[in-house]
Amino acid sequence: MIKLVGVFKKFDAHTALNNLCLYVQSGEIYGLLGSNGAGKSTTLNLILGFLKADSGSIDIGNGSNNSSLKQDMIGYIPENVNLYPYLSGVENLDYFCKLSGFQYNKVELSDFLNECGLQTDAHHKLISTYSKGMRQKVGIAIAYAKKAKVYLLDEPASGLDPLSSNELSELLKKLAKNGAAILMASHDIFRVRETCDKIGILKNGNLVKEMNASQVSSEELEGIYLNFMKN
């Protein structure tokens, strides 16, 4: 689970996050919506440990403040999963697993990729030949193989075609079903509505609205979002 309580973050005079309280349970997918500069990336960077909060607490389930222990639990999927272009999907996965201290044989690695929806015939092709969706799947496989309890996704659906986007949603739901806490920051209202269990809207560092995805339709969500952005 991810638990942020009263988190403040300032960059010089600019307040990036103002008393942010956010809770993502295990098995839950949380979608963080917001315009550019609303504080989404700052939130992710704080959880990832790249930034330090000025005040407040960030807990990702183990109750530890040790950043390396935190990082062991986190799987991170950046907006563009541009991995080593001269390595294949399997090789990239192998390398990143080894970086986090896991060692799998080739069959296991292929299984991870399969589970994340990457077709078998692509496993041994160079990443440079992959589409964005395929690379995204390798990125998720990296987090999955690490046995991450927490998944942080930065604009995961940006630039994906509808089919890949849908596959991504399904994959995230599968991960959540297995007990992962997933936090995704996005602009894509429709995808967030389709994928997430809970949705939060960030504006100027304040969490202005939180709701259950099942309570709103896509159109309603868009209306709420635009209403907050305009005011």
């Binding site: 990832l48 790249f50 390396s68 990082q71 986190i74 799987g75 991170y76 950046p78 907006e79 563009n80 999963v81 541009n82 991995l83 080593y84 272009p85 001269y86 390595l87 090789e91 390398y95 990143f96 080894k98 970086l99 986090s100 201290g101 060692q103 990125g139 990296i142 690490k146």
Partner: protein, 440 residues
């Protein structure tokens, strides 16, 4: 364990990047070529020295035949009398040779700036015309040779740049540097381990070539401490550049910026700083036209020749007090011929004095170079390397000093024997030969 994986996976990164592999192989080829060049130069020097030695032996054999046949010298030169020490010593071909070091293939250094064989006559000095370098194309000398030390000192850092500029640079460019941190933790450590792989690779490569040359030339036996020092020096040098590049990689973002900064560091350390020190040294110590030396060999020498026999007699006795005890030293009359035959000793002393000044001026320039080493580490490594392969200024200074010793020895022997009115026969001639290391 994770560290070990990063290290071993670097080999895969390396192999999967054709540009890096090709550059590395190209460097290996260049090393092999440079060593071949070094061997070529070494063999050329050895061959020349061997030819000189053979020719000298033939000349000596000829003189020995004259003794056997009771001849006084060559038929065309009736005035030559080899029973006179003046002529018999003149007919001992005396050369001072600088045998190429067994490590020459690893560093040509300043070898091409100096001569390595010198014929010693009664009028020789260490700044004679035949002390200059071998015949070579000056423009080639300016560009320098592809020798192994050049490759290690100047091109190896460039190779290191090509091998390492995209460590973290690529991750920055493709924006998955955060993923690395999430997966591995400390990114500095991850960069360090990846750098370590290339440091080991390059040290292994350089050591491989040093050991190969040492085995071929038996240097492990003859020059073991130099081989050891070369290995240590090259390893430290690689670590030195790797450290600079490591910090550039850590504190820069993107492969272009990293490459630019690394190349700039290389230019600064290998080209700009040495060039500035060179320019400064030239301004402080302009090219020495050695007019004092020219004076000794021209005006002052002629003034000596104009001196009276009496004056020369006393100047010679002053140089070699032992001459007082010789046959001529005990005689009442001064023999003009003996004095003229040994006046070279006076010129030699004058040469030695003026050369001492020249060497001191050179030494002052060298001291300036030494003091610049703190800001000019590449020149330090370069000169250290050359000293291990016996091709630096001081190796040739030692050679010049050996040349001077032989000149002194020859002139002293000439003076003592001429003043002793020694009658030379075959066995005395052979004794002379032994003095100059002839085994005949």
């Amino acid at each position: 364990m994770r560290e070990l994986h990063v290290f071993s996976y670097e080999f895969k990164h390396f192999l999967k990047t054709p540009a890096k592999v090709i550059t590395y192989l190209f460097f290996m080829f260049a090393c092999a070529y440079s060593i071949y060049n070094g061997f070529d130069l070494q063999n050329k020097q050895k061959q020349t020295i061997q030819n000189i030695e053979i020719e000298n032996k033939n000349k000596v054999l000829k003189v020995l035949t004259w003794f056997e046949e009771g001849k006084s010298g060559p038929e065309s030169k009736s005035w030559v009398d080899i029973s006179n020490p003046y002529w018999s010593l003149n007919y001992i071909p005396t050369y001072m040779l600088k045998h190429p070091s067994s490590l020459l293939p690893l560093g040509v250094g300043q070898a091409e700036q100096y001569g390595y064989y010198k014929e010693i006559t009664n009028w020789s000095s260490t700044y004679d015309n035949d002390m200059v370098e071998e015949l070579s194309n000056p423009e080639r000398l300016v560009n320098g040779n592809i020798d192994f030390s050049f490759l290690v000192i100047f091109l190896l850092p460039v190779l290191l740049i090509i091998l390492t500029y995209n460590i973290k640079g690529l991750e920055d460019d493709f924006k998955f540097d955060k993923l690395i941190t999430i997966q591995f933790g400390a990114i500095k450590k991850w960069i360090f381990i990846r750098f370590l792989f290339y440091v080991f690779l390059l040290i292994f490569t350089v050591v491989f070539f040093i050991i190969t040359v040492s085995v071929i030339n038996n240097s492990l036996v003859t020059d073991f401490s130099q081989v050891k020092s070369l290995i240590l020096l090259s390893s430290l040098y690689i670590i030195f550049f790797a450290t600079i590049f490591y910090f550039i990689a850590v504190y820069s973002c993107g492969s272009s910026a990293i490459a630019f900064k690394m190349i700039s560091a290389w230019l600064l350390l290998c080209v700009l700083i040495p060039g500035s020190v060179h320019q400064f040294a030239s301004m402080k110590y302009p090219v020495n036209y050695m007019t004092d030396y020219l004076d000794v060999n021209r005006k002052e020498a002629y003034e000596v020749f104009e001196l009276s026999t009496d004056s020369l007699y006393y100047r010679l006795v002053e140089i070699y007090p032992a001459l007082n005890e010789t046959v001529h030293g005990q005689e009442d009359e001064i023999d003009n011929r003996i004095i003229r035959n040994t006046v070279c000793a006076v010129i030699n002393e004058m040469n030695k004095n003026v050369i001492k000044d020249i060497e001191q001026q050179n030494e002052a320039k060298n001291q300036l170079i030494f003091s610049s080493y703190w800001v000019n580490p590449v020149s330090f490594v370069q000169n250290k390397w050359n000293s291990y392969t016996f091709t630096d200024y001081y190796s040739y200074k030692r050679y010049r000093s050996n040349v001077q010793k032989i000149i002194d020895k020859k002139i002293e022997l000439l003076s003592v024997e001429c003043w002793g009115r020694r009658k030379v026969n075959r066995s005395i001639y052979q004794q002379y030969l032994q003095e100059f290391n002839y085994d005949m």
